[in-house]
Amino acid sequence: MYDSSDLRKGLKIAIDGEPYIITDFQFSKPGKGQALYKCKLKNMVTGYTVDRTYRSGDKFEPANLNEVHMQYLYRDNEGFHFMNTITYDQVTLTNDQVEEAKIFLLDNMEVDILFFQDTPIDITLPTFVELEVTESAPGVRGDTATGATKPVTLETGHEIQVPLFIKQGEILKIDTRTGEYVERAKK
């Protein structure tokens, strides 16, 4: 059970039995008035956003969610398929649910799948992934000291900006939170 002082951005709570995540939060207290907690919440199943204002002393049930470590298998018309490597249970996430994650998603990658009851609703990639450069415009000349960058294509088909010295075939370490190049992966 949470109370209003626990409210913050990113907290997941249940409203009418459905899981919501707080996407925007503001503590507010009009002069001489009681504390109010303004929240924007996103329904984690439907994606709909609602605005709610809560008062001091309000209580909240945590969203009934659990995260399961799974392996990415393949993609087909139905969506993205994942397998629990211990129980061999398989689940499918839709294109929408995988959203931004798919640009760094590679076969056999180990990820965390978020469940609401028995329904998979979201995916969390590892913080860092290592991906191969499959295409790099050759021979771009430039001043490497000033941090100039060029675009390369990764094995997932996604394009990112990297320093000029990166060549085709190299493995790059990428931060999935920012989507940015970190360094060349150590072999």
Partner: protein, 308 residues
């Protein structure tokens, strides 16, 4: 930022002293805070068997005691403490400027505020009577618009608060319908609050449904709050009883009665006083969106209890 903040405070002090205000330091620990239903004081443990003291949520009652003893223009600039207040505009320990003048009412306070905004904007390096906050240019040339609570509620919330509106509804609408609709390019005074929303303020002689209370807003920040002070000790005692009762109903702890303050009211001359949040003023003048960015250190994190 700390240099700008220091400069603002320095110029504020010299302005007030030029205006004949005496800076005073009243105790930060008191035996009885004002019983307000929405402000929780921190208690201070004095030792076994002794009653707790309280950190001041505002220096108000001690400053009024000094006015009753004969001082006529005073200010205190320092820390105050309020439980459970933390957010992008709130700190549990923050810096307040409170100034009081005798023989004055809330109109004088509004003029003081206008002068303070002008002077401190200059110390923060702003020119041409304007300040840019969160990308919006705010014209700070006096006089700032003055809008009554009745009018602003009629316009943006679609109802007229009476002398004792449903406080839940009043506060919710204040935050969700009024504050977001205030003019973005001017500081503004909201004035004449419902009588029940100002337990230490004098009622307006021409309309006793409202109290002579004023709030200054700028850039979406609530900067200052003040009123023509209530000087009637019987009325004050009756209002404290009401507030204490509201606290009891909400399950909040009972505070001791502020006896010295109530006694001193018998000698309190006509006066007006304003409280201004220094941290929020600095936010406005340094274009900071989070109050943590204008203090030396954000509040200390709660440490896990030490192992026995």
């Amino acid at each position: 930022m700390l240099a700008t903040r220091g400069g603002i405070i320095k110029d504020l002090r010299s302005f007030l002293s030029e205006q004949g205000f005496l800076e005073v330091q009243t105790p930060l620990m008191i035996n009885a805070p004002v019983p307000e239903a929405s402000i929780e004081a921190f208690s201070v443990f004095q030792g076994k068997g002794k009653p707790d003291l309280y950190l001041i949520p505002s220096p108000e009652i001690n400053l009024k005691r000094l006015l009753a003893e004969g001082l006529d223009r005073i200010f205190q600039l320092g820390p105050v403490f309020r439980q459970e207040e933390q957010g992008s505009h709130h700190l549990p320990e923050f810096t307040i400027l409170e100034w009081y003048r005798t023989g004055a009412d809330y109109h004088d306070l509004m003029s003081d505020c206008e002068a303070i905004i002008e002077i401190t904007a200059r110390s923060a390096g702003w020119k041409d009577d304007s300040v840019t906050y969160k990308g919006i240019k705010i014209n700070i040339k006096p006089t700032f618009p003055r809008i009554t609570i009745k009018k602003v509620f009629e316009k943006y919330a679609g109802w007229t608060p009476g002398p004792a509106p449903d406080l839940d509804r009043f506060n919710q609408d204040m935050v969700t319908k009024i504050e977001p609709n205030l003019p973005p390019d001017r500081p503004v005074f909201l004035m004449d609050y419902p009588a029940s929303c100002a337990s230490l303020a004098k009622l307006k002689a021409s309309d006793t449904e409202v109290a002579e209370r004023v709030e200054l807003y700028a850039g979406g920040l609530e900067i200052a709050n003040g009123f023509s002070e209530l000087t009637d000790h019987e009325e004050q005692e009756a209002r404290f009883k009401k507030e204490a009762e509201r606290r009891r109903k909400q399950g909040l702890r009972a505070y001791p009665r502020p006896e010295e303050f109530l006694l001193s009211l018998r000698g309190l001359p006509n006066c007006a006083g304003m409280a201004l949040g220094i941290d929020r003023l600095v936010m406005l003048l340094t274009n900071a969106s989070n109050i943590n960015d204008v203090v030396a250190f954000p509040p200390e994190k709660i440490q896990p209890t030490a192992m026995p």
